[in-house]
């Protein structure tokens, strides 16, 4: 029997999700073809703002790689938009001229950013924020230009604005209305949001109507209806979206604002359906993900000949992906004759909540600042709970026991993932039936958590609840070459006495005989730590930075950052650095984030000669190793200083420099609790106090800011230095390669690490072990290479043909 042909126009979230639902119901029923105009496979558009805010990479937001299409026998017509639909002949033609016949067709063309039809809208530097390409362009342009204007203070505009701030731009949001996100928030909440975003560096021009975009070839600014202007060299249009309906309209389908569909997602043409942002159901077009998925389920049931009640419209809820601005909005948020509100504002923590009530039932929710009760209220809203028994104070009061209870206590019918409409029962069943052991597994099998991801912690809780300790045992290989974990590998290195990477790969059955770029540096590190004397460090397994002793830059050039212990330098050093920088035409001289001077953009061939002329040592500013120690000027000069922070910083650096660690290890020493060097976000931070030194560990100022935890207070410098060594060795022995101390501390548990480090015997043993492991190895690599002509030639030659 030949299969029916199912064609989907649109390779976005709604279309592909519908296909996934169909495949789940019956994977053999249709021969499936997807037509997409973008160059990427299906990705999670919601996460684009995380890419812009540097929280995720493009690779991470791709939900279905090419393999998925292959595995499911789906033909993907890529980067080739459909241009004509002929419902009579039942065929679709693409821009490249391919003609595809179908038995059933789903239009899922989504929407585009609405570009205001004003003068200058076509100028270079005016972008929408809708696709990976838009996002990459924004990231690229943020490198060259400084001032961005975002037109539109809605959800997307604000996420774009925050992202551009994170990309280093000065950002002004221009908004037509009186307050931000006016469709989701009321005025008080909108104003609180504005204040918080201003603190994050975003500027606002409210109640401004943009009438013209200024500029000749590239955008130079905006002009408003009141005649005022704003300078800008990048403009993001985030004033809304417009359904893509051209194809349907040309084919004669009934189209209003969107493609009109009935409760079964059927359009006015036979065997043609529409889902997602291009579809208009009951006068409504949805621009959020949850409704699209609900529509997809209905259509999948229909196409797989399963019973379905049809689509009845959706209640939507919104949250904003900007850290520090927790908000939640759902349902009807305007008061009217029959909708009344009760609200509470807490000036102490700047939080606000308002519930909208009709006939004793919650019909709308606005929460700002504290969203911990969103599940409680949203559940009441969806279930239509009668709240007559609760007085307003009880309703607004902090969560009672039931509401605060963990997800484990929820009913099976309660929704955990709002985006994908996945209930607790579905997740628990999947964990049992398919023996799932990790959050990633659950996401893959149930789709819960694969959109905005906010519910992943709850999925984790459910896993622990169902499986108990087994969760931790979930096998996760360190890379694609093996299913073994770091612990398995290190254990076997010990047990089998493996002394080379080659042995590890062979004995432990790695799928690739020489590993890959992920496991090679890791295995080399584990071998170095386990058998410091027997294992020969493998240069060919070091990442280029650690092989060349400079940080590789985007154009293939390198950086030269000489060591200045404790950040202390001399006029002679500065003169020399200046001379060398000038002689070698160094494109950029910059003071680094950790108080050193960096020379950037150096050719590989020039490295050894520059090191020679500088006659300084390497600051290891490129290595997974002990880094520079940042210090404040301290008691010798500062009127607040209680200790010689600079002196201690220099001693720490001298004592532990050139020691490899699982990831970079940053230190700071402040001379008083004002903590000018930000000791509270260092892997090892010291704060001098009158009677000694406070030691903080596990802080991180990077991707995820983590405050360090106070380990202890000691009296002498020597105690600080010894504790640092003990921590270094414990981190080296137990850390996963590329794991910073913050997640390491979280994984091992602070109390555990504390008990080890503060146990005098264990601490002493660790320090001795460290000293033995690195004896004779803490050498300046620059000096080594300068003194070894052979090595220099081997590594730093570029052939000229």
């Amino acid at each position: 029997m030949t299969k029916k042909k199912l064609l989907i126009i649109g390779n976005g979230m709604a279309g592909v999700r519908t296909i996934e639902e169909i495949l789940e119901r019956n994977s053999h029923q249709y021969e499936i073809t997807i037509i997409g105009e973008e160059t990427y496979t299906n990705y999670n558009r919601i996460m684009l703002s995380n890419v812009l805010q540097k929280k995720m990479t493009v690779d991470e937001i791709v939900t279905n790689p090419l393999q998925w299409y292959e595995d499911n026998g789906i033909t993907l017509i890529h980067h080739d938009p459909a241009i004509r639909l002929d419902p009579q002949a039942k065929q679709v033609v693409t821009a490249d001229g391919q003609c595809i016949h179908y038995d059933k067709c789903i239009i899922a063309t989504g929407s585009r950013s609405f570009i205001l039809p004003i003068e200058g809208a076509e100028l270079a530097g005016v972008l929408g924020f809708r696709t990976i390409d838009d996002t990459l362009q924004m990231i690229e342009q943020a490198k060259q230009y400084k001032r961005a204007a975002v037109i539109g203070g809605g959800l997307l505009g604000l996420e774009a604005a925050k992202g551009l701030v994170d990309q280093g731009m000065e950002v002004t949001v221009v908004h037509l209305e009186k307050w931000l996100m006016e469709t989701q928030l009321n005025e008080p909440a909108g104003n609180l949001l504005k204040k918080d975003l201003e603190k994050q560096g975003i500027r606002f021009l409210m109640e401004k109507k943009t009438t013209r975009i200024l500029g000749t070839s590239r955008v130079e600014g905006l002009e408003f209806s009141d005649g005022s202007t704003l300078e800008a060299d990048l403009v993001i249009m985030a004033v809304g979206i417009r359904p893509v309906t051209g194809l349907a309209k040309d084919a004669g389908l009934h189209v209003e604002r969107g493609i009109v569909v009935d409760d079964f997602m059927a359009t006015s043409a036979a065997d043609v359906y529409a889902v997602g942002e291009c579809a208009q159901h009951n006068k409504t077009i949805y621009g959020l993900v949850a409704p699209l998925y609900e529509q997809g389920k209905v259509l999948a049931d229909l196409l797989a000949h399963r019973p379905t009640d049809g689509y009845k419209g959706s209640t939507v809820s919104t949250s904003l992906k900007v850290s520090g601005c927790d908000l939640f909005s759902a349902g009807i948020i305007r008061e009217s004759d029959d909708v009344k509100g009760i609200e509470a504002y807490n000036g102490l923590n700047n939080s606000y909540k308002k519930l909208f009530i009709r006939d004793n039932r919650i019909v709308g929710i606005v929460l700002y600042g504290d969203t911990s009760e969103e599940n409680r209220y949203y559940k009441m809203l969806r279930n239509g709970t009668d709240i007559a028994a609760l007085n307003p104070v009880t309703l607004l009061a902090a969560a009672d026991e039931e509401a605060g209870a963990s997800v484990a206590q929820w009913d099976d019918t309660d929704t955990v993932c709002g985006c994908n409409g996945v209930t607790k029962g579905t997740i628990v069943n999947a964990i049992h039936a398919q023996q799932l052991t990790s959050v990633a597994d659950v996401v893959r099998c149930t789709k819960a958590g694969n959109s905005c991801g906010k519910c992943k912690p709850m999925i984790g809780e459910l896993l622990s609840h169902v499986l108990g300790d087994k969760v931790a045992l979930a096998p996760t290989g360190i890379c694609g070459c093996t299913d073994l974990t770091r612990d398995d590998i290190v254990l076997q290195i010990h047990e089998k006495g493996l002394k080379t990477s080659k042995d590890v790969f062979r004995e432990l059955g790695f799928r690739n005989a020489e590993g890959c770029s992920k496991c090679r540096p890791a295995i080399n590190f584990y071998l170095n730590v386990t058998f410091p004397n027997e294992h020969q460090d493998e240069k060919e397994s070091r990442y280029v930075n650690e092989r060349m002793h400079g940080n590789i830059q985007k154009n293939g050039s390198f950086s030269v950052i000489p060591r200045m212990r404790g950040g202390k330098t001399t006029p002679q050093q500065l003169l020399k650095i200046a001379q060398v920088a000038e002689k070698y035409n160094v494109p950029l001289v910059k003071v680094t984030g950790s108080q050193r001077i960096g020379l950037y953009g150096v050719n590989k061939e020039d490295l050894p000669a520059m090191w020679e002329e500088l006659d300084m040592t390497s600051a290891s500013a490129y290595a997974k190793a002990v880094r520079s120690v940042k210090t404040c000027v301290g008691a010798n000069f500062c009127r607040f200083g209680t200790q010689d922070s600079m002196g201690l910083g220099i001693k720490l650096e001298e004592r532990y420099e050139y020691i490899d660690t699982p990831h970079k290890f940053k230190m700071g020493v402040s001379a008083c609790p004002r903590s000018c060097v930000e000791s509270g976000v260092k892997d090892f931070g010291v704060i001098g106090v009158e009677n000694g030194f406070q030691i903080y560990i596990g802080g991180n100022g990077g991707t995820e800011v983590k405050e360090a935890t106070l380990l202890t207070t000691v009296e002498t410098e020597q105690e600080v230095i010894d504790l640092c060594g003990a921590m270094l060795q414990y981190y080296r022995k137990t850390g996963n390669y590329a794991e910073r101390t913050a997640p390491w501390l979280e994984r091992l548990g602070f109390e555990h690490v504390k008990s080890v480090l503060l146990n005098p015997e264990q601490s002493k043993a660790l320090l001795a072990e460290l000293d033995a492991a690195v004896a004779g190895k803490r050498k300046d690599p620059w000096t080594e290479i300068r003194s070894n002509e052979h090595k220099e030639q081997e590594l730093y030659t570029v052939g000229r043909g």
Partner: protein
């Protein structure tokens, strides 16, 4: 009448100067070529710039018959120059020659 392009034989290094699995870049008329000695002593040469963001492939980690670009870990075959999935693209490949312990690339 067809024309035969005469290939240029470009000296890279003495064989012993090329450590296994550490690349060597050569520049021929402005063209970057990355030359590698594999673990089994075969010599392979491919275009030196990754098709993604022009990362210097000569500086990448070499595993088996592949090199990983140091900038964003694109995995490139040293045999046919193809970028491996999930990424795509390719770089040129060049014939190599070892004569009397001297390594050459044919360009």
């Amino acid at each position: 009448m067809g024309t035969t392009q005469v290939k240029q034989k470009v000296f890279v290094a003495n064989f012993a100067e090329l450590p296994p699995r550490i690349g060597r870049e050569i520049v021929v008329d402005g063209l970057k070529i990355a030359v590698f000695r594999l673990s089994d002593d075969r010599i392979k040469a491919i275009g030196g710039a990754c098709p993604h963001k022009q990362g210097p492939l000569a500086e990448g980690i070499v595993a088996g018959e592949y090199v990983f670009c140091p900038l964003h870990e694109y995995k490139v075959s040293l045999i046919d120059g193809k970028v491996q999935e999930p990424d795509d693209g390719c770089v040129a490949t060049y014939d190599t020659l070892v004569e009397e312990d001297k390594v050459y690339v044919l360009v």
